[in-house]
Amino acid sequence: MSKKSKKKGAFIIEREYIDDQRIIEPEHLKLEEVDMSGRWGVLVLPRTIEEFNHSLYEEIKNHPRGRNIHKCWQCGNCTAACPVAEENPLFNPRYFIHIVKMGYKLELEKFKDYIYLCGSCGRCSEVCPKGVDPSGVMEAIGTVLRRYKL
């Protein structure tokens, strides 16, 4: 019988707070004949951001519709106007722009599938005070992520 729980780390009491990617749950783990497989050998990797990596950001800036991403100052006007964000709390154009700019890889991996939920209605670009064209930036992020098969 496998010692792996159905959902990774399901037994962790504060499980909801921990991203899947951070949990290492070993199927087989032994040290000096002591079996630590499954629950007993779980490690949770730290979530501290250790690097700002702007490589994706640079590529998005080179995309014709992403070229104004650097103007974003995180006011949240776009998210406030976005119909998708109204429905889906995990879709947040303001947030996507930030994590791309700062290069937070773990976060990007977590949200990669949500970026495509953008309906390209352009509401955000209408309200953006800085001319970022967030709608275009969503498209640019999607394109670049696809390029990396993320």
Binding site: I13, E14, L29
Partner: protein, 426 residues
């Protein structure tokens, strides 16, 4: 600081950084203005004044650090001077200590006996129950205060000054003493409880953690050093419950860690001649997190390893982590097992300051310091200290065999005889 004052811009030109009007760095000034855990330093000092007033009014008895306890004065974060009793101590043990790292307390007793310091190892001590409180939020201020006062009363009866081994008991007692003094309701309720067990409200003038005792005794300890530890680098972990619960009252010293971080333990290592390494997560918890070790084992151990052990090993050349609380020694030590099984390479022995000092003074690594209970490999450390642990190991094996065969009794560390008589008719 001096070498940072100028920056070379070119071969000829230098730029001065920080020139005029350099105010003296005053940690206490920052602290005094800071709002610390319970409010301000002023509030804390107010509490101490109120304690005196209550004593004058006869409402409480204060257990003073009289000259009989040969006190030494230290400075606390609040700038206030605190009296640390040095002899005739009542050993307030820690629950986790005896179970997880028995060498911690025996090393302390051994040091005291070695220095000829009388103390009382009382069997009539109870858990402070803060374990419940911080761990799960059960218990309540009245119950915690009652347990605190009960223990203090026992010590007072014996006329020995409480020396608190556990960081949590120490932090908890500082908190409940604050509540007791500032809150009449608690005082009345507690008095009623104490009456039922024939005891009264006796509040210690000073709450003293054993690490503070080691701190003031460090020079005497260093005098009796047997092994040269100058080749040893230690990384110090200070326990949250000793210096973050009521931080106003823990020991600081201008000449140790710039007076920014607490002095004990680091001071002991330095006095013994060891090097002290700094590391990036100095202020972080050991991972115990109190409730977390119980309910969030996975996070607790991961934190201990990834935030403390790993960076210490990777970034410093430390040979050992020394710390001063039961929970910290246990967590930092035992949490290395799972990561090592996963193939992580970084590992470092973990000792209490008392164990480290006792080893340097020539205590038996197994009979006294009981290193065999520790998980992380301590052999390199002992080699570096010049301790022939192989020989001690053989010796220890023989000792155990002889006990098994009934040829001898286990060695007990006996305190030197007391000079103070217990109080009568209490």
């Amino acid at each position: 600081m001096s070498d940072m004052n100028t920056v070379k811009i070119s071969d000829k030109e230098e730029l001065e950084i920080k020139t005029e009007q350099a105010k003296l760095f005053e940690r206490s000034m920052f602290a005094a203005k800071s709002h610390l855990s319970y409010g301000t330093v002023e509030e804390y000092l107010k509490m101490l004044r109120k304690m005196r007033e209550l004593e004058k009014q006869g409402e409480i008895e204060v257990f003073h650090v009289t000259d009989e306890f040969e006190p030494v004065t230290v400075k606390t974060l609040s700038g206030r001077e605190k009296k640390i009793p040095t002899i005739e101590l009542w050993q307030h043990k820690s629950c986790g200590q005896c179970g997880h790292i028995p060498g911690y307390v025996t090393a302390l007793y051994w040091i005291m006996s070695n220095l000829g310091i009388p103390y009382v190892d009382d069997t009539n001590q109870t858990s402070c129950t803060a374990w419940n409180y911080y761990g799960s939020g059960t218990s309540n201020p009245v119950a915690l205060t009652a347990v605190f006062l009960r223990n203090m009363h026992v010590a007072w009866e014996k006329n020995a000054y409480p020396l608190i081994h556990c960081g949590t008991s120490y932090g908890d007692y500082k908190e409940v003493r604050f509540l007791l003094v500032m809150n009449r309701d608690i005082r009345e309720k507690v008095r009623a409880i104490l009456k039922k067990i024939d005891r009264d409200v006796v509040v210690p003038e000073e709450l003293v953690h054993y690490s503070e005792w080691l701190h003031v005794m460090r020079d005497k300890i260093a005098e009796r050093r047997k092994y040269d530890v100058s080749g040893v680098t230690v990384a110090v972990h200070a326990a949250c419950h000793t210096y973050k619960l009521m931080p106003e009252d823990y020991t600081y010293s201008e000449d140790i860690l710039d007076g920014i971080r607490p002095a004990p333990t680091t001071s002991v290592a330095l006095a013994l001649g060891a090097k002290v390494a700094d590391y990036r997560n100095w202020y972080d918890c050991c991972g115990f997190g109190f409730r977390h070790i119980l309910t969030e084992r996975e996070i607790s151990r991961s934190f201990a390893y990834f935030r403390k052990v790993q960076p210490i090993v990777k970034e410093t050349k430390a040979d050992v982590i020394i710390t001063h609380d039961t929970g910290c020694v246990t967590t930092l030590d035992k949490s290395q097992v799972v990561p090592l099984a996963h193939g992580y390479k970084e590992t470092i022995p973990v000792l209490s300051d008392s164990q480290f000092a006792a080893l340097a003074m020539g205590a038996h690594p197994f009979i006294v310091c009981q290193l065999h209970w520790h998980i992380a490999d301590w052999r390199n450390l002992l080699n570096k200290m010049g301790i022939d642990w192989e020989r001690y190991k053989q010796d220890y094996k023989r000792y155990i065999e002889e006990i098994k065969k009934g040829l001898r009794k286990p060695d007990f560390i006996k305190p030197p005889s007391r000079r103070l008589p217990p109080r009568k008719n209490s």
